[in-house]
Every structure is written in structure tokens, then in C-alpha cells.
Amino acid sequence: MSPDPDFTGVKRPEFDTMATKHATAAGQLADLAVRLHGELSAAGLDVTPATGIRDLARQAETQAADLKRRQRLVSELDRLKVVFGTTTAKGTYLPIPDKLETGQAMLDGATAADAAIAAYRNNPAGADPKQLQIVQAYAAKVHDPAFARAFMSRLGAKGIVELANAVSLRVASFQRTGDYEEARQAANQGQHVLRITSTMLAAVTDPASPAYLGASFLQQLKAAGRTPRSDLSVAQGRPTGYHALADVLGAHPGKPPYSAEFMRTVGRDMIALDREVWDARRSGEATKAMADMRTFVPDLLRAAASSPAAAQAILDHTPEGRKGTNLHYLLHDRVGWWTDNPNSSTDGRDGRAFAAVMKAAMTGSDPVSLRLTAETFKILGADLPALYARNANEKLQLTDQNAFDQRAALRPALGSILAAHIHEVGRIVDGRNVLRSGVGADLRAQSVNQRDLDYALLFATSDDAAFSEIVRAQAEHTRVEIDKIFPLKDKGQTLDDPISRESKTFGHIVGAREQALYAMGRANEAASKELESMVKSAIGIVPVPGKEFAGKLAEQAFKGMKLEAFAKEVAGGVGGQPGSYAFDKGAAWIAQLFKSGKTLDESHATATENRQLISRLMEQMVATAAVAHGQHDGEGLAGRSFIDKKGEMKPVLEMTPSEYEDFLNWTTFHSGFSGLKIKGQDLVDSGAAEARRSFGITD
């Protein structure tokens, strides 16, 4: 058998002999060149052969220097047992990388790993700071696959656990003796080493990474994680290896992300162990060690949040022999973990970690994201109603503040999830069965219904930012839906469907928000201006063309009206980047409108009800869309503030707020839709009423 064509390596001691021989040969050739030159020139002969040999001597010198560097590297890699001989029919080879730098990285990785090992072996009471310092010195190399592979394969799965344990022991021992400054320094140093370790661990456990160490390493991590502390070399420490591994996971800087493969093997096993402990504690069978266990799950979640696939691998799984998914376990059984209130002992980090995992797992448009979203709505639809009650004024009242606080940190993520699936939200409002959890007795139990959705909205919209995000998503969805119906053939009929659907969805959102404010004791805001200004700031700028819309408006709005130059400018882009002009300028323009603090439209400012605002928004969207599609009479433009001296329309994105308002007003009267009676307002009301019915409130 000859070595694999990709195999690179050397035979020892032949390689050493060769390095020595070639150095000697180089010297002999140099000497030859000089002597031959002397003979040839003395004999009056052409000296070309001598100069040719001089060139050969120089080449051999360069080669000999390279061989010498390699030889030194080979002997170090061999001595430190970073590489081991492998026997083939052609002899025994040491596998040595082709590139010198790779070999050097391997050597560095091994040296750093030896320091890490020494750090936990030298001092049973905690990690040795001098050895940790050596590890820290290699921080810049952690993204080098050869370094990471060498470091991790040498430290080993068990070594990772021992190192993390030793780091935490050192901090704890300073804390016990009251040396808080020392404890702080030890924690900082330890955190840096754990971050380094975590970066490399993510790489070597990712099958897509060149640093991947194979499936067996993941199995070794599981074994090390399940190892009880009595079997670890340190006498004290955390109950299991997973507790120490969690420190490494919790220190993850986010890049490279932990792979779905890591979460499928190690991550799921961690949750499985946690669920075993939870069972034992609930049935009173927990050992002392179990009862003392602080959970490692939040740290795992911090690492799982770094990619959608990793987050989904954790949540979208039911351990063997169990009924509930991990999502159900985390969002229902262990909901107490996520508590974030001023009196809680946690600082809200854990809740934010779970929220980040939910957001990563559920804001995509893939089937797993949709399934998890459905299950989340079903869980909340079952759990949330108990938190609220109807009061004498037919308003919702929060009756279980503690249960609310447990979930409060999840609201921003829930807002993003609702916004990401705003299309499905509208379909459910429309009575369609479009989100199915896949868990539950029958189709009915699996399907997200309007009531589930309204509770999700009620809970999410109690957070101002989440409310704003949902309203924006719904406004954007409306704009797209309205734009889709052009060009119109039958004005009356075609417009009805999208407008009624979108209006009703708006109704559910603002209806839920209103009750959310009542429930939180913000009744004054719910009843007055606050709600309006929230809607205003969220949707007041929506008829503003987005990237695509601005382009279309420019291309079509005033066809044949000397606006070609303007059209090209906005739609064609600048510097060969189509559309980027409109997009970038648009963002800046919108930001400026926000800054000016003015609402765009007089009727926005005077609207006293959400439904009026939304209705006005609908009209403007329809009118702007109509103009964008060239459906306007083209009259009444003279003297308008948005028309310049040459009679051309100013670029939309360069209009001032008042010019834009003037433009909107013009579109309303000249788009051919001025007479159109949009029924949006009634439908917003009916949507809000539907939401109130979901909450058991009568009008």
C-alpha cells in the first residue's frame, strides 16, 4: 500500500539524514562553483558552467535552510508527541503538514494545551494563574484550525471540564476567604481562558469547520459531561462535568457559532440530564447532589443562540421516552428560570438567553421555525389566560404578577417572532388553519387559533418595543398586499379583500395592546394619547416608499411629465448599484422625520382614535400605490410644494415632511380613489372586538 495521495509526512531518521546531506551538498556546490570559475577563466574558457553551478548552489542553500526548519519542527512535533508514526508499505511515516506554518500552529496548540493541563494539575485548589497566562498568550491563534485541533485534541474532552472546574475553584476559594479583589482578577483571567476555549470548542465540534475533530470527540464530551465530580481529578467542584462545560459554553463570544451537530449531541444530552434531575426533584427522589444542582441550561442556551440551526436543534426535540418537547419543558415546566424582576436574584441574563434562542429558532420561514412558533403560541395560549381576569369595568386585569414576570423577558423575542410571521398572523385572524404545532391529540389541539394568537399578542404588546415591531411588520405587510392588487381592473371589488383583511389584523393588534395596557395598570395611557402616539411613531411614516416602492413611484408616478431624470436618479441608483440610492437615502430620510418629531399628516395629528389612524394610513397607502402605478389624473400639480420651479416632482426622498404631506394630500384627491369609501375603520373595530372576546371581555 502506498500512502494516501493527500498524505503528507516524513520518514525518520531518513529525513534528518537528508537535511544534513543537503546542507553539505550546498556547501560543496558553492565551493565547486568558485574553483571551476578559477580554472575556466585561467584557461581562457567560457565561465558559463561555473556561474550555472553557482546558481545551483544558491538554490541548494535555500532548500537546505527550509529542510533544516522542517527538521526542527518534525523533531519537536515528534518529541512532544503531537504526531505519531503511521506505518505503510513504504515505511513508517510521521504525519507532518505540508506547510511549515501549519506545523508551527500545531506545535503552538500543543504547547498551549500543555499549559492548560498544567494549570489544573499543578494546583488542586484552583487553576494556576501562570499557566493560564501562557494559554492567554495564544489568544490570537484560536481561529487557526490547526492550532484549535492540536489544542483541543491534546486537552481532550475531560481536560476541558477539568480546566473549567479549576478556574471556578480558584475564584471560589478567594471568595471564601474574602479576597474579593483577588477573586475578581481570577474571574477575569478565567473568563478570558474560557472564552478562548469556547471559541475553539465551537470550531472543533462543527462538521463544516476545517478544525472538526470528528463525531468521537462529541461522544467524549458527552461522557465527560456525565462524569460525576468524584471521578474528576479535582476534589471539589460542581456536581457533574456538564456544570463545568456550561461555564465554557456560557463564555462563548458568539463566533464561530456552535454547530447544530454539537447541540444535537451534547446540547440535547445536557437538557435530557436536566430533565432527569427535575423529575427526581419533583418526585422527591433527588439526591443531595441533585438538590444542590444549579442548572447549566441557561449557559447552554447562551451558546445555542448563536445560530438558528443550533437553537432549533435544542428546542425542536423530544428526548426518548418523553412526551413533551424541549421547548415545552423550557417555556412551560421551567418557566420560573426566566424571571426578571427587580426582586429576583438573577439579573435577567437567563431570560435574555432563552429569548435569544427563541428568536434565533423561530424567526425564519423554514418549516421548523413555523412549527416551533405554532407550539409557542399553543403553550402561551394554554398558560397565559390564567394570568389575567376581567374586572368590573370590562377591562383585563393582571392577577398573577409573578407568572407574568417569569415570562416578561421573552416579550421582545415574541414580538420579533410575531413580526416575522405577520402573514400567518393575518391568515389566522382570517380564520385559516396555517400554523400547526405537530404536538397534541388532534388537529384541533395542534392548530393555532385566534384565541391563542390574541393571547400571544396581548402578552407581547405589553412591551412597547415589541408592540412597535409588530405594528411596523403589519403596516409593511399591508403596503405589500395593497401594492399587489395593481394594476386594477375593477376598483371596488378587488380592493376590498386585502383592505378588510389587513384592517382586521390591525384591529387584533391594537385591541390586544389596549387590554395589555389596562392589565398592566397603564389605564390612562390605554385610554388616551399614549396609544395613539405609539401607533403614530410606528406607522406614521409607512406610506413612505420603501426601496422597491420608491423606485416604482419614480418610474411610473408621473410618466411623460418631464420626470424621467428624477425617475432614473431614484430608481437607477448611483455608482452602478441599482436601488442603493433610494434605500440608503430612504433610511436617512426616515430617520430625519423621526428626529423632527413631527407627524407627517395633519389628520394623523388630530386623530383621536387608533382606528382613525389606521384608516387614514390605509387611504394613504392605497392612494400612494395608485399613483405609483400611474393611476392618477395628473391635475392640480402647479404650485404644489413638492413640484420644483421647472414643474418637475422633487425626489420623494428629498422632500421635507411638509412637502411629503402635501404630496400625500395630492395623491388622495388625484389618484382616482378620492371617492372610494374604505371600510377599514369598521374592520379595525371588529378586529379589536374579536380580540376582546378572546379575553372574555364584553363590549
Binding site: T8, G9, M18, L29, P49, I53, D66, D98
Partner: protein, 80 residues
């Protein structure tokens, strides 16, 4: 009687021939080690190719020097 110039030229040929003989095998051992695959992989292969080419070139140059010297001797005056 022998021409002193010619004798000198003959001695030069001999010295050049000796240099050639002495260095004919200078790169041979390394070539042999590479032929028995002491170092495998792309960098090793490159080195093997280079050192074999260098050996051929070295021998060509040595042969050229010897031939040049002999030729000069044969065209030199005072031929017997």
C-alpha cells in the same frame, strides 16, 4: 619537445575533469533518499523534482566544462 603552453592546458583539463568527477555524485544521495519517498506530499514532491533537475543540470554543466576544455586542447597549437 613538449610545448609548455600545451602542457599547462593539459593539466587544466585534468583538473577540470577531477572537479567534475569529485562532484558528479554530490546530489546523488539526496536524490536517492527522495526516490525512496523520505518526504511525501506536495512540498516534498516539489523538492524531489527540483533536486533531480538540479542533479541533471549539475552533470550537464560539469560535462560542458570538461568538453570545452578538451576542445580547446585539441585546437591548441603545437599539436604533435
Amino acid at each position: 619537445m613538449p610545448d609548455p603552453d600545451r602542457a599547462a592546458a593539459q593539466a587544466a583539463v585534468a583538473r577540470i575533469q577531477r572537479l567534475s568527477d569529485e562532484h558528479w555524485w554530490t546530489l546523488h544521495q539526496v536524490c536517492l533518499l527522495m526516490r525512496s519517498e523520505t518526504w511525501v506530499g506536495p512540498a516534498g514532491r516539489r523538492f524531489g523534482d527540483e533536486v533531480h533537475a538540479a542533479e541533471r543540470r549539475l552533470r550537464d554543466l560539469l560535462a560542458e566544462a570538461v568538453t570545452d576544455a578538451r576542445q580547446k586542447l585539441s585546437t591548441a597549437p603545437g599539436r604533435p
